[in-house]
């Protein structure tokens, strides 16, 4: 039997959360138990950053991909798994090595111009993303018969309370719980009635849609890539790693956290695509995830409808807290303000006010009657498209900064080869997406 010994009482200078198993200092008898406990204590930022990316926009994109093309885009999710892992693994290394956030590292190593560019870009795209998250909350609750004037303020209050507890661990554990609720998407995907062999085949073998290759298909591919890898994720995870004070020796556990998060996220995204593919199989039209839930309700039961709508809300809540925190951390880092979820509002007012201000303003915009939400969603796509390649280039250059990181944390040659390839593909895809949105006449009319 493995023995656990609580030594926190012997160390009065250290103040763990009372009665909390995983936050206390422990002495265990076996090395495997030490590794397991260390992993459980480190676990969190990787899962949260990955799963929070399955936000309102992702639910919309993945379900639309399923509704329009059935299982034909499942292979893309499998392809994106290593891509998203490699990008996030770099920020884990950078965060653990420096103990600082991404925004401040760009300021310090590239100067004020690029620092301001990155920060402004991040804040702008994050704010528009927040508006789409609140639009998702409003849409899902409206489908359940709840007025936006009730649902949006209630969600705002919940999101603010979530971070104001002055405990990083409390925020992390509630958020992990919300992430794990997303596993319900897997059950919904299973309810859509596709066979395991069919799903497996489409996951590993890319195939053309029935009508042949169209620009519609290509842009949905680009949207899926853009949804799976977002600029805010780079800033969020590095700041989160710094806030959690992860140590050099936590690097491998943190890599596993990130990898598990990537796998979980891809599985959940697959569930979303399968749920959308149910409409494709039934030859039903697709407008948005709320309409999809209403269409599925009469055939698959009210529980499925309610689950889908609540999962939409969950996705939006997860997205909102992560995106708002990435903005607040980045802004406070650059301003030199105190910034930690471990601090109270009085100790870090600037950090919390940035979070609260962003959430309030985004919620207010959604409540404006006839707000141009469609234009905002397009704006998010363009801005994210503009920012992602440059954010990845800065990340790659920082990870080649041997003077800063030393031999231990700097990219290996194989890292660089993989990452340059990812960056080149992202550049091409983002440029096509941005060009199409900014100049719709640039490309020929869509194929049938």
């Amino acid at each position: 039997m493995t023995h656990l010994n609580d030594v926190s009482k012997a160390a009065p200078g250290i103040q763990p959360q009372p009665g909390d198993f995983l936050s206390r200092t422990r002495v265990v008898k076996s090395p495997w138990m030490q590794r397991l406990l260390t992993f459980l204590m480190v676990f969190g930022p990787g899962l949260i950053v990955m799963e929070a990316d399955n936000d309102a926009g992702a639910v919309s994109t993945y379900t639309q991909a399923g509704a329009q093309y059935g299982l034909k885009l499942l292979w893309l999710l499998i392809l994106l798994l290593p891509v998203t892992y490699f990008c996030q693994e770099m920020v884990v290394r950078l965060g653990i090595a420096t103990g600082e956030g991404h925004a401040v590292m760009i300021y310090k190593r590239f100067g004020k111009w690029w620092g301001r560019f990155s920060l402004f870009d991040l804040q702008l795209v994050n704010f528009f993303t927040l508006v789409t998250e609140f639009a998702g909350i409003s849409l899902a609750f409206a489908a359940m018969g709840v007025s936006p004037w009730v649902s949006v303020p209630a969600a705002t209050a919940g999101l603010i309370t979530l971070v104001l507890t002055g405990s990083y661990l409390r925020w992390e554990r509630i958020t992990i719980l919300l992430c794990l609720l997303d596993a319900t998407w897997f059950l919904l995907g299973w309810k859509s009635g596709f066979g395991a062999a069919q799903v497996a085949r489409n996951s590993v073998l890319p195939s053309m849609p029935d009508g042949g290759l169209s620009f519609d298909y290509i842009f949905l591919v680009i949207a899926t890539v853009g949804t799976t890898i977002a600029p805010w994720q780079l800033f969020f995870q590095q700041s989160c790693v710094a806030d959690k004070k992860l140590r050099f020796k936590d690097l491998n556990a943190s890599r596993w956290d990130t990898f598990i998060g990537a796998v979980f996220t891809v599985v959940v995204a697959g569930g979303m695509m399968l749920a959308g593919a149910w409409l494709f199989r039934q030859h039903l039209p697709y407008t948005d995830p709320a309409q999809m839930a209403m269409a599925m309700g009469p055939r698959l039961g009210p529980a499925v409808k309610s689950a889908l709508l609540m999962l939409m809300v969950n996705a939006s809540i997860l997205g909102t807290t992560a995106v708002s925190l990435s903005s607040a951390w980045a802004w406070a880092e650059v301003k030199g303000w105190d910034r930690s979820l471990q601090l109270s509002f009085r100790q870090a007012p600037g950090f919390y006010l940035t979070y609260i201000g962003g959430v309030f303003l985004a919620a207010a915009i959604v409540l404006i009657p006839r707000a141009p939400l469609q234009a905002i969603i397009l704006g998010v796509q363009v801005l994210a498209g503009v920012m992602l390649p440059s954010a990845l280039v800065f990340l790659q250059i920082l990870l080649n900064d041997r003077e800063l990181l030393g031999d231990r944390f700097v990219n290996r040659p194989w890292n660089n080869r993989v990452n340059w390839l990812i960056i080149a593909v992202m550049f091409a895809l983002s440029a096509v997406l941005a060009a199409q949105v900014m100049a719709p006449g640039l490309f020929p009319a869509q194929a049938a």
């Binding site: 030594v7 200092t25 002495v27 471990q342 250059i397």
Partner: protein, 83 residues
């Protein structure tokens, strides 16, 4: 089996406590409550040293952003002319 507890002084002395000790077992400390470690700092470093690949990538970012800005300007101009 009983475990020996630590004094505050030895507790804050991080390195030896993470070594496996037969009489005490293996210590696990939550990162939030562990003693801070000296991180790699950018203070005092000069301008970032760019490899040739990094230099090319930075030029590509500049060209890319300029192209996006031009496209945005073209879109705005055509929109205004149509009105």
């Amino acid at each position: 089996m009983t475990f020996q507890t630590e004094t505050l002084d030895t507790f804050l002395d991080l390195e030896p406590l993470h070594e496996p000790r037969a009489d005490q077992g293996f210590r696990v400390v939550h990162p939030l409550y562990d003693a801070p470690e000296a991180k790699r700092s950018a203070e005092g470093l000069g301008p970032i040293q760019l490899t040739p690949a990094c230099r090319i990538a930075l030029v590509a970012v500049r060209c890319y952003l300029a192209a996006i800005l031009l496209m945005g300007a073209w879109r705005a101009a055509t929109f205004l002319l149509r009105r």
